[in-house]
Each structure stands twice: as C-alpha cells, then as structure tokens.
Symmetry: C2
Subunit: 223 residues, 2 copies
C-alpha cells in the first residue's frame, strides 16, 4: 500500500510526531469506528453532523436520505472533512498541562461522489457489513423504493491524515515533575450490553448470530 500523502491539508501541524502516514493505520481507524463527524461549508459557515461510516476498499461510504439538504449539498460537490475519533483513554500526568487524552483520529478531506443506481445496493450492503456484520443475510432484501430514497456517497481515502498517540508515554524522563504523585492512564473502551428484543418480535425468536457477534466484538472478545 502507498503511504498517505503529506499535503497542506494533511500535514499535522500540532504534535506532528503523532502523525502516522501508513495507509493501514488509516484503515484501522476507519474500520474500528461506527460513526464519524462529517463537515461541510454552508453559506460560509461550518456545519458538522454525525454519520455512520463504512469502508469499501480505498473509499469510505456514508449514506443519507435523498431529502436531506446536507447530503444533497455533498452530492453536489461541496468539499467535506470527515473526522473519525477513537478515544482510548485519559492520560493523567503529574501536571494538568501535560495531561491529555489517548486517542487515534483520522481526518479525511475531499469531494464525495454519488454512488450510481446500479452500484447502490452493493455499496449499502458494504456499509451494512461494516456497521452490522452478517445482518443483511438475516433480513429481507432492500426494495427499489428504499434504494431510491437513499443517497450513498463515496469519499476517497486519498487526502487523509492520521494522528495516533496510543503508544506515547504518559510522561518523559527528566521533566522535573514529582514522581511521588501518581501518574498513569485510565483506559476507555466501548462495550456492548445484552441485546434488548423489540416487543413486537414473536416470542421465542432467538437473538441472531449477527447481534451476538457484534456484542462479542464490541466487548473485546474474539469471533
């Protein structure tokens, strides 16, 4: 895989030693997230909304309603900034100044393209596979009306930066701080609870494999 390019938009300006240009690291951040924040400029002002995401090869997919002004502007070529953040923990240094968060984040700049009708179902299945692996096989197929009501956008993972301080130390030797004060890290992670069955579900219907699998993965287990 080629490295991520350093451009005026992707060169990390603050704490540049946390920048990672390995494309695999970008994929890891995107693949490890369910949601991201998508920003555009509207009437000269920034507007940023949460979206579900899924990677499809070298692109990230997002979807919305064909009735959404926000998505229609993106479909019409408005430049976007997609920000994916994984918060991994809190770093408790011996001073507030050096305290910070443990995180990985990806920032993707670009212009999205509309997935054409003939590729829309495949793209939505790829998105579904990212968000709810295995679920598509458990439910009915999408209808033509549903497909028509959905706008699927493809953003190339071309001009992107990754910042990752997951492996950084909480503190540096020789910083003059008092070592009798505790310093360290509080790791944070997302876990899944027990699935909650919808009351309309026919009694005795078991929780399906897709849900059990996501529960296990989110809770740190292996499949």
């Amino acid at each position: 895989m080629t490295d991520l390019p350093l451009t005026p938009l992707t060169r990390v300006r603050r704490l540049p030693h946390y920048q990672v240009t390995d494309r695999a690291a970008l994929y890891e951040v995107v693949d490890g997230a369910l949601a991201a924040t998508l920003a555009i400029v509207r009437d000269g002002r920034p507007v940023a909304l949460p979206v579900g995401i899924g990677r499809d090869g070298d692109d990230v997919l997002v979807h919305g309603s064909t009735g959404s002004d926000f998505f229609r502007r993106i479909a019409a070529g408005a430049p976007v900034c997609l920000t994916v953040t994984q918060l991994l923990g809190l770093k408790y240094a011996r001073s507030l100044f050096d305290s910070s968060m443990r995180y990985r984040c990806a920032v993707v700049h670009g212009v999205a393209s509309v997935v054409p009708a003939e590729d829309k179902e495949r793209a939505l299945l790829a998105l579904s596979e990212h968000l709810m692996p295995g679920r598509a096989a458990e439910v009915r197929p999408m209808t033509g009306r549903e497909l028509a009501a959905t706008l699927v956008l493809r953003l190339p993972l071309a001009e992107a930066s990754v910042k990752d301080n997951a492996a950084s130390a909480v503190e540096e030797d020789g910083d003059g701080e008092d070592r009798t004060v505790w310093a360290g890290e509080l790791p944070l992670r997302v876990v899944a609870g027990e699935p909650v069955t919808s009351p309309q579900t026919v009694g005795g219907t078991p929780v399906p494999a897709s849900v059990r699998r996501s529960q296990l993965v989110a809770s740190g287990g292996t499949v």
Copy 2:
C-alpha cells in the same frame, strides 16, 4: 431555564421529531462527553478536529496551544460548529433500511471568545474538572508559563440543537414487516478498564481518588 431557540441553523431538518429544545438536554449531552469535533472553515474548506470539552455554565470550553493555527483562527473569530455525539447503541430493525443507531447529539454554532488572562486559570480548572474530576487537587498548580502557552476558548451554548432518539422504538406497529425476524437493540457504552501506572511513578504510590472515581463513573457505577 429557557428553551433552545429554533433558528435556521438549529432547526433539525431530518427526522425533526428527534429534536429536543430543552436546554437541560443540551447540558446532559455536553456533560456526558469527554470529546467533541470542532469544525471551522479554512480557505473555503471545512476542517474539523477532535477536541476535549467541558461545560462552564452556559458556555462550553475548549483549549489548545497558542501555537495552533486552528485555534488561532477560532480565537480570531472564525465561526465554529461543535458537534458532540453519544453513540448509545445499534438498532436492528427487520430491514436494513429501518436499521439505525441509537444516539444523542448536540450541534452548537457560534463564535468563540478568548478567555482573558485573568480568567484563564479558573477556566482551565473548570475544563479539568469536567475531564478529570478531582485531579487538579492532586497535582501541582499550573505555572505562568503553562498558562501563557494555552489558549482557552469559550463558546456560548446559545445557538444549539439537540437530536435524541434514545427513547424511540426500534419499529412501528403496522409496518408490515415479518415479526418472526428478530429485531431489537444492542446497547453500547464506554467503560473504563484498570488504571495503568506510569513506570516512573514511585513504587507503592496508590491510584488516586480522582482516577478511581472516573473509573467507577465510566463503568456505570455511582460515586
């Protein structure tokens, strides 16, 4: 408390029944989050970066380095959009089309002001209290040099919208879907693991109360 105003920037256009105009709901979303995404317009394009946040009354506080181009632009009056998202779960409907995420999100529009030097320490302590409650009392005070290197910005929680589908049903009666397919929800939440002590810490130093408290709160316990 006054309700959140409905303006062209805050009126939710998609799924407006999820909009909440109760100011307390906005505070709850902000108070329940450690990080958010802050977006600006730079050279006509959106740029959105993750930031730590803390609420101080009717404002949200963010901080950065005085050397940061991004924060300097905000300090100079660039309009911002702050997006706070709490992902609460995955909604498995009986179709992919109706499947979605369970979330709360707040979107705040405005122009931030620079916290003046004389109020900076108090503001940073408020931010610290949000991110790491009780920690400030366990570490040394901030130095003048540290304060000088830090830019603290105050964004009014004035023009803001909240969208919350936490209480929405996974499905509607009479939607014609097959009730023998399982539908329901997989709840997601952030939990804290065991604190990891920095190797430079003097042996035997106990994990302090602030860290234990955040561990307990993040893991769903009560203080």
